[in-house]
């Protein structure tokens, strides 16, 4: 900038030259700022869409997801998520299986019948009391998230493996015991996916993005 304070020749050419410099400078500057801003906004990973491990939740029974859903190689039984969370494909919530479903299997599995967790389970059953499971993936009350639509779209139309489809939001539950929130479940995080184009079904090359009207998710 020192050149600016220097006295310059007062000829017309000089003036024009300066003007030209300034114009070029300003256009360059605008371009720079706009493109930098544009890049920054699209590239930056905002805070609330970054992976965000939720707190550990104390459940009445420490349900071993790894044992039930985990890979066979790791001693899991590879049960389909929707075997227990059966409402996911037809309701807005995935749901917790009724106690009767746990008992349905476990009354025939003598081998673990006397383990402390299973004993606890049968205590609830005998008292005819529902297990007070706590919510791990909690959304604000003004949000309507529909499991059914996502399952229909990704599992049934697009033929994605169930664990991959569920895991996109719930993380790799099959490696956990008590489930823990892995994703932020914030609006920005939802939107980041809704903005992307996804193929409409398994074979088609046609893509669409998620719905973008406010009332789709806000209630």
């Amino acid at each position: 900038m020192s050149m600016l304070s220097r006295r310059q020749s007062n000829c017309l050419l000089g003036e024009l030259l300066t003007m030209y410099c300034f114009l070029r400078f300003s256009i360059l500057l605008v371009g720079l700022i706009v493109s930098a801003g544009s890049y920054a906004v699209s590239a930056a990973q905002p805070l609330t869409t970054a992976d965000d491990l939720g707190p550990k939740v104390e459940q009445p029974i420490e349900f071993p997801h790894d044992r039930h859903a985990g890979d066979a190689a790791k001693g899991g039984m590879q049960i389909n998520c929707m075997y227990c969370h059966t409402y996911a494909r037809r309701s807005i919530v995935a749901g917790i299986p009724p106690l009767q479903k746990c008992i349905g299997c476990h009354q025939n599995i003598e081998s673990v019948r006397e383990t402390p967790r299973i004993k606890k389970l049968f205590e609830y059953w005998e008292a005819k009391k529902a297990v007070p499971w706590k919510k791990v993936h909690d959304l604000p009350d003004f949000v309507r998230f529909n499991h059914e639509r996502h399952i229909q779209r990704f599992v049934f139309a697009q033929n994605k493996p169930v664990q991959e489809a569920c895991g996109y939001c719930h993380g790799d539950v099959k490696t956990m015991t008590v489930a823990r929130r892995q994703k932020p479940l914030s609006m920005g995080w939802c939107v980041s996916c809704h903005q992307k184009d996804h193929p409409v079904d398994a074979t088609s090359t046609k893509t669409t993005h998620g719905p973008n009207d406010c009332w789709q998710c806000h209630k």
């Binding site: 304070s5 805070l47 869409t49 914030s186 920005g188 995080w189 939107v191």
Partner: protein
Amino acid sequence: MGKDIREDIAWAQINKDVLKSLESPRRMYWVILFIAIAMIGVAVGSEVYQYQTGMGVSNKNNSHVWGLYIATFIFWIGMSHSGTLLSAILHLMHADWRKPIYRFAEAMTTFSLMTAGLFVLVHLGRLWMVYYVMPYPNERWVWPNFQSPLVWDMFAIATYLSSSVLFLYVGMIPDLAICRDNIHAGWRKKLYTVMSLGWEGTDRQWRNFRITYLTIACFLIPLAVSVHSIVASDFAMSNMPGWHVTSFPPYFVAGALYSGCAAIITLFIILRYVFKFEEYMTLPIMKKLVRLTFAIAMVWTYLNLIEFASVWYGHDQTAKDQLIFKATGPYAPFFWAMIFFGSILPLMLAFKRFQTHLPILFIVSILLNVGMWLERWMIIAPSFAHGHYPWTWDHDQWPSLVQWGIVFGSFGWFTLLFMVFCKVFPSVSMYEVKEMVYHRSLALKHKPAVKGDY
């Protein structure tokens, strides 16, 4: 008529007189300051109550969703236009009589804006979510609605406030240097040293200063016009009968200048009395100011009538009903009071004998502002009470004490800011008064003294 200012006034005297106003205040100052703080306390208390209980305590209702907050918001925004008028417009016009009085007018601009801004916050139902109005990048890809005149307001007021503060500050740098040079200890010394940025009055500084000041003045004029036009757009862009009027933007601008000038008269008299600025805030200047006010009052009156006339001759029965309602309905007393204070009372200012009669001017200028405040209220309240939809018409809308409390407190807030300013910064521009004196004396030297009035 006398001179605007004595040419032979010593420059050192100017420094001395003005710097005297920064000296330790008298007891009365603290009393008034305390009263101002107490008034703010009322407002803060009311606001806390409203914040915790809900907007319902302000006694607005579903058909009548805006009230005193918005009316007073416009009032304060309007007040802010005087500073721009005096410093920018008159500066460009080379009307050098502005020089002794523009500084406090500019301060008034800034503080009015700071007061007005608070009303936007107070008005919101969910104050704690106010940041949603700002366009900040966020991962939700959600932006404010740039179509909303309220967002334009936000932009315009932010621009206006920052520009006015800068303008006030830049214009004050030479004076701050004077303060720095004349005050030798304490926090003031540090403050002035930092704020004067090492100003020494060199030719390079002055040269750039001159062009900068002029440039900003050029920017401020369209800005000021746009700010109040945008505030007018809050109304004119909507479809409410009584609001959807084409002449609203100029009408608002005129109203703003009007109330601003009236407020300058009030503060002029107060400062002249308190700081004994008789030498600088002279009666001839007052006379010019009063004449300016009178002219603007007539412009406002004219635009007011234009508004009525265009409604009256238009085919919009709804707007016509609204106008009749204003003039004859439950708000009629306020409406006619507004006409009286805004259009009839200023006729007094046309008479020479009142133009320099300070006690009368003091009262009149306050009444003019009452009229201008009523104007804003008359835009808000009757329109809501008598909109498009007859089923929801409403008479029962008298603002609650909470609303009055906050409006009342806003005057305390303004007073506080202004009083602090007057004690910390020179409220008369010393260097410009010197310039004025210098140029006047030069004129005297070169030309024979003109007899009679300028």
